[in-house]
């Protein structure tokens, strides 16, 4: 389970790999936090829950990350860690997530970049020998 930032001319691209869909969502959230601040400096003793649904898992992933962008911009909420459960229920895919973090504290967090939104650019969740993988592009 990991993420790796890739070279991208205008925006920020990150490759996320995980053993399961749940872990992929968790790791993608960690990558988003690490894009905005030094993730190690985010305390994770407070909790904010998120539930979402979408017609496909990749669309749900973008909705999930956009939800975290929105929470950061409106409440300055930094989700340093997440526990996610993703499942299919009939026609839709559902997410229940607990995010653990804290509001931005400029005394301890140096904001590296603001993410405007998460794109659908070349979006795909693919199965690999190790598990599943996706590349997400953040619009900054």
């Amino acid at each position: 389970m990991s993420y790796l930032f890739l070279d991208h001319t205008g925006d920020i691209a990150v490759r996320v790999t995980a053993a399961s869909l749940d872990r992929l969502f968790e790791e993608a959230a960690a990558a988003l936090a690490a894009t905005i601040v030094d993730a190690a400096a985010v305390r994770t003793d407070r909790r904010l829950d998120v539930t979402l649904e979408a017609p496909a898992p990749d669309l749900l992933l973008v909705d999930w990350l956009n939800e975290l962008v929105y929470r950061f911009e409106t409440d300055l909420w930094l989700a340093g860690r997440a526990e996610a459960r993703v499942w299919q229920a009939g026609e839709v895919w559902q997410l229940e997530a607990k995010t653990f973090g804290e509001p931005l504290d400029e005394a301890r967090h140096r904001v590296k970049v603001l993410i405007k939104g998460v794109t659908y650019h070349q979006l795909a969740i693919q199965e690999t020998a190790e598990g599943i993988e996706t590349v997400v592009v953040f619009d900054i």
Partner: protein
Amino acid sequence: MYRNVPTGVGSHRRDLTLSAMALRRVLEHGARWAVQEGFGRREDLDVVEEGGCLPGADPDRVSDRACERGHTQLGTLGSGNHFAELQYVAEVYDARVAAAFGLFKDQVTIMIHSGSRGLGHQVCQEHLREMVDASRRHGIELPDRQLCCAPIRSPEGRAYLAAMAAAANFAFANRQVMGHWVRESVASALGVAPDRTGITVVYDVCHNIAKFETFTVKGRTRELCVHRKGATRAYPPGHPQTPAAYREVGQPVLIPGDMGRYSYVLVGTERALGETFGSACHGAGRRMSRSQAKRSARGRSLLDEMHARGVEVMAAGMATVAEEMPEAYKDVADVVRVVDAAGLARRVAQLRPIGVIKG
């Protein structure tokens, strides 16, 4: 300027927070709202694209979430490639047109590059999401879902255009408010009254917008939806949409460069009308990825380097300065020479930065 124009995460002026009703008026009326509220002068609007207010804006198409992202962000610069610069006119290539724009050699200028902030991004995200579904419903095959779309006259298309116009109006108002605070900053620095700074607006224009405009195509007059993405309008002399003050010379075309070298003012041409639907490029374009730029900046003091070039930089975050350093961008002079040689817009003046504010 750095104190008066908020930059960085969550920063905004305590003396400007919008009520829900005020935000609706911003979305409907754009820069006109700002002027009515005392931010700038009525004559500023004469030289703003569409008078600072796109028609067809519908605040009801802007979600509560988008409004929530926007309500404390009016009059804020934003991050990424957004900037406010104090510059001077280093070169004049066309004295007649420069004079019509009110520009002359060694004059001090101010350039602001900012947009619709979080409100616009939220509008974009939500409508992209709808368009992904709409593309499927309309049987449109996509090479990439980021290119999702719907017919302009479809319900989804109309809804988006009404929301986009509202976001554009937020952007017009945002720049108008910041422009006003820049005027106040200069007045305060010079110890003169805000109406005695001699600062007039040259032009305010979008560079990522879809608009209905009229063109002649194969001899027929047609109304087209022109999407200028990373592009800016470049209307010629005599065009009815060219501001009256510039009707004899053409519309100013603003092409920002990077923070260390220069930006340009050009003027629109008849040729652009025929070849690019009255459009020119908006900037230089990046040469390095953001991570390449950061790697290249490691171990260097970019602020000192910029100081040595005669440019003072003030920034909310140093990572942005690294990502936006001059060599991360193509040389905009080359880009502008191509635009000029292609006849899409003609060079009028070169502006060199003295002071740079980054988010």
